[in-house]
Amino acid sequence: MAPKKEPAKTNVSKDDLLHYYREMLLIRRFEEKAGQLYGMGLIGGFCHLYIGQEAVVVGLEACAKPGDKRLTSYRDHGHMLACGMDANGVMAELTGRSGGYSKGKGGSMHMFSKERHFYGGHGIVGAQVPLGAGLAFADKYLGNDNVTFAYFGDGAANQGQVYETYNMAELWNLPVVFVIENNQYAMGTSVKRSTKSTTLFGRGLAYGIQGEAVDGMDVLAVKAAGEKAVAACRAGEGPCILEMMTYRYRGHSMSDPAKYRTREEVEKMKTEKDAIEHVRDLLLGAGLASDEELKAIDKDIKEIVNASAEFAKDSPEPDLSELWTDIYA
């Protein structure tokens, strides 16, 4: 095994670290299970797994308060679990069953929970960026101190609508955190092959928006950056950009030729930068948790995930009458 980072020099509490560990593990195991169900033909169409990027959403959710909103792209399962949506409902939507969050009518890429303030799941690259600014526009208009997290990829960062939105978000001082999840690839196109301006957060400066690059494989670094950004938003200072340097271990969707990067590159990230291993080392290294405690969490998570898979298999397909419902409010 490659040498790990030096052990904990952190003043983060045991409870917080255990919480991050648990949340990240839940996402990873859930995604592994989703991949498995896909292989069995229970999930169809597109299915974009979040494995590798868990620290980003878990670190930022640790900065959110009730009322805050979030929305992201089609790579959305992790965001839903992290904001407290039920694993059963998410998995059943993946299998297209009536017990899913959208009664099986949305699927992997189109899920919503008004109750948890999760506003999708968006299949069109970049669409969620102005939509997120719009949610922030509504909060500002209504005079509360909620913040919206608008997540998007490095590929999406080249969409014109992102810059239209930066301009208006800063012009109108909207409480939105733009989170670029820079996992270095948009399908098979690396950042370097899609732009010469590779410091993605820096593009906000042209519109007057402050930003920074953050180690997105380190949940503590994510949390720290998130706290600052959220505080600025709540203080009425307008939007921020956080460019999370992260990595996706799996293919873009389920069918990925994997020819655009080497197996060694992927292995190196997994062994040297893995976000879950990092927190595990912090916990064990500082003697904050025992192997047994972590094993107990592993077991717990496995049960939740297996139960969600069973639920997603057993939940009936939507009644055919559902074809004609929900077209209009």
Partner: protein, 451 residues
């Protein structure tokens, strides 16, 4: 317990593949996430990762085997101390409990009852106003009544509106509720849809509908489809409005009629008023509706005056056509500015002894089919009139519905009068030819009346 590893489906359409290469051998320990094999499909070569931990007990399919069906066992994974011959746990996909298959929804032969009726009580005091004033009054009244209603668009505030529809609104409601935007249709339309999800009721003014093509992704993908995709949890209560169709001499990029395009989309409601009373009553209904409403206006009509009921809160429901003129020989169906040609033609035809019934659809989605059908069943002839392109027009759609539901009543084929099948030319003489004319409507009516 031993687990069978199955040939995975690696794409939505994959049914079988080639097991190109094993990267593990029998006896190897595997971790979850470890790459076990390379699998080739028609699309690509893909890596197949282990889900469970264990030891490879047996490889059931040799590398290089082609045509391996999805879900066949390709290997057996065992735990420490287990034999590969132990009965594997069945992990085959459970078939979904299938809901009973209902017959395809066929339009049942329902009775046709015209919904057309008076929009205001007899004897109501009327006032004369332009379409422009009617639209402005509708917005102002709704903004007074509901603090979550706001107007957003280019030049709607300080400039007082590119076509002066929003004149005075900034003074009354302030910059929080009359929001000037940069020229960024894609962006501000997305922001408005997001704001509607966040609890507001945005009115988005497009300077003209031609520029909304930059925003059509958000109108359709984000606004129209979300209620359905969220299983009814959240829709987009908002109005998209602006001038639509040809003005005069503004050329191909500024002259398109989008009525048929937006009417094709489930999840949207589509309104295209002709008179000032309809503009006012329907815009108020649109602002109160909990769905995204496309409101198509017309620059040429803005300055036209009509009688509007002088009532404190006057609305017109969606899905209700208006019979402007009763007749017995032929039904002319139109909407929006097309009504000008329809009504002019009816006047001319009357002089020739042809009695035309003129139906104004007013809303295109929901569309008041019954009023059209009831009229056609009475007159047995129909001509449709609109400014848009001929292919996939509203008239095409109505012809199909009339054929399906009133075929036996027709004494002649339905004729669709539309704009010509060309981009709008700039030259004055060509433009005149590209646009629909009253003479064409008159000729079409004479043709279906065999006169």
């Amino acid at each position: 317990m031993a687990i069978e590893i199955l040939m995975p489906a690696l794409s939505p359409t994959m049914e079988e593949g080639t097991l190109a290469k094993w990267l593990v051998k029998e006896g190897d320990k595997v971790k979850s996430g470890q790459i076990m094999a390379e699998i080739e499909t028609d699309k690509a070569t893909m890596e197949f990762e282990a889900v469970d931990e264990g030891i490879i007990g047996k490889l059931l399919v040799a590398e290089g085997t082609a045509g391996v069906k999805v879900n066949t066992a390709i290997a057996v994974l065992v735990q420490e101390g287990e034999s590969a011959d132990a009965a594997p746990a069945p992990v085959a996909a459970k078939a979904a409990p299938v809901a009973a298959v209902a017959a395809a929804p066929v339009a049942a032969p329902v009775a046709v009852v015209s919904k057309a009726s008076a929009d205001w009580p007899e004897g109501t005091k009327m006032k004369t106003m332009t379409v422009r004033e009617a639209l402005r009054e509708a917005m102002a009244e709704e903004m007074r009544a509901d603090p979550t209603v706001f107007l957003m668009g280019e030049e709607v505030g300080e400039y007082q509106g590119a076509y002066k529809i929003s004149q005075g609104l900034l003074d009354e409601f302030g910059p929080k509720r009359v929001v000037d935007t940069p020229i960024t249709e894609h962006g501000f339309t997305g922001i408005a849809v997001g704001a509607s999800w966040g609890g507001l009721r945005p009115i988005v003014e497009f300077m003209t509908w031609n520029f909304a093509m930059q925003a059509i992704d958000h109108i359709i993908n984000s606004a129209a489809k979300t209620n359905y995709m969220s299983g009814g949890q959240m829709g987009a209560p908002m109005v998209f409005r602006g001038t639509n169709g040809a003005a005069a001499r503004v050329g191909a990029q500024h002259s398109q009629d989008y009525a048929a395009w937006y009417s094709a989309i489930p999840g949207l409601k589509v309104v295209m008023p002709y008179s000032a009373a309809d503009a006012k009553g329907l815009l108020k209904t649109a602002i109160r509706d909990n769905n995204p409403v496309i409101f198509l206006e017309n620059e040429i009509m803005y300055g036209h005056s009509f009688e509007v009921p002088d009532l404190p809160d006057f609305t017109i429901p969606f899905g209700k056509a208006r019979i402007w003129r009763e007749g017995t020989d032929v039904t002319i169906v139109s909407f929006g500015i097309g009504m000008r040609y329809a009504l002019e033609a009816a006047d001319l035809l009357a002089k020739d002894g042809i009695s035309a019934e003129v139906v104004d659809l007013r809303t295109l989605r929901p569309l008041d089919y019954d009023t059209v059908l009831a009229s056609v069943m009475k007159t047995n002839r129909c001509v449709t009139v609109e400014e848009g392109f001929p292919v996939g027009s509203i008239g095409n759609h109505l012809s199909a519905v009339i054929m399906e539901r009133a075929f036996d009543y027709l004494d002649a084929p339905v004729i669709n009068c539309t704009g010509k099948d060309v981009p709008m030319p700039y030259a004055a003489n060509l433009e005149k030819h590209a646009l629909l004319t009253t003479a064409e409507v008159v000729a079409a009516v004479k043709s279906v009346c065999y006169r």
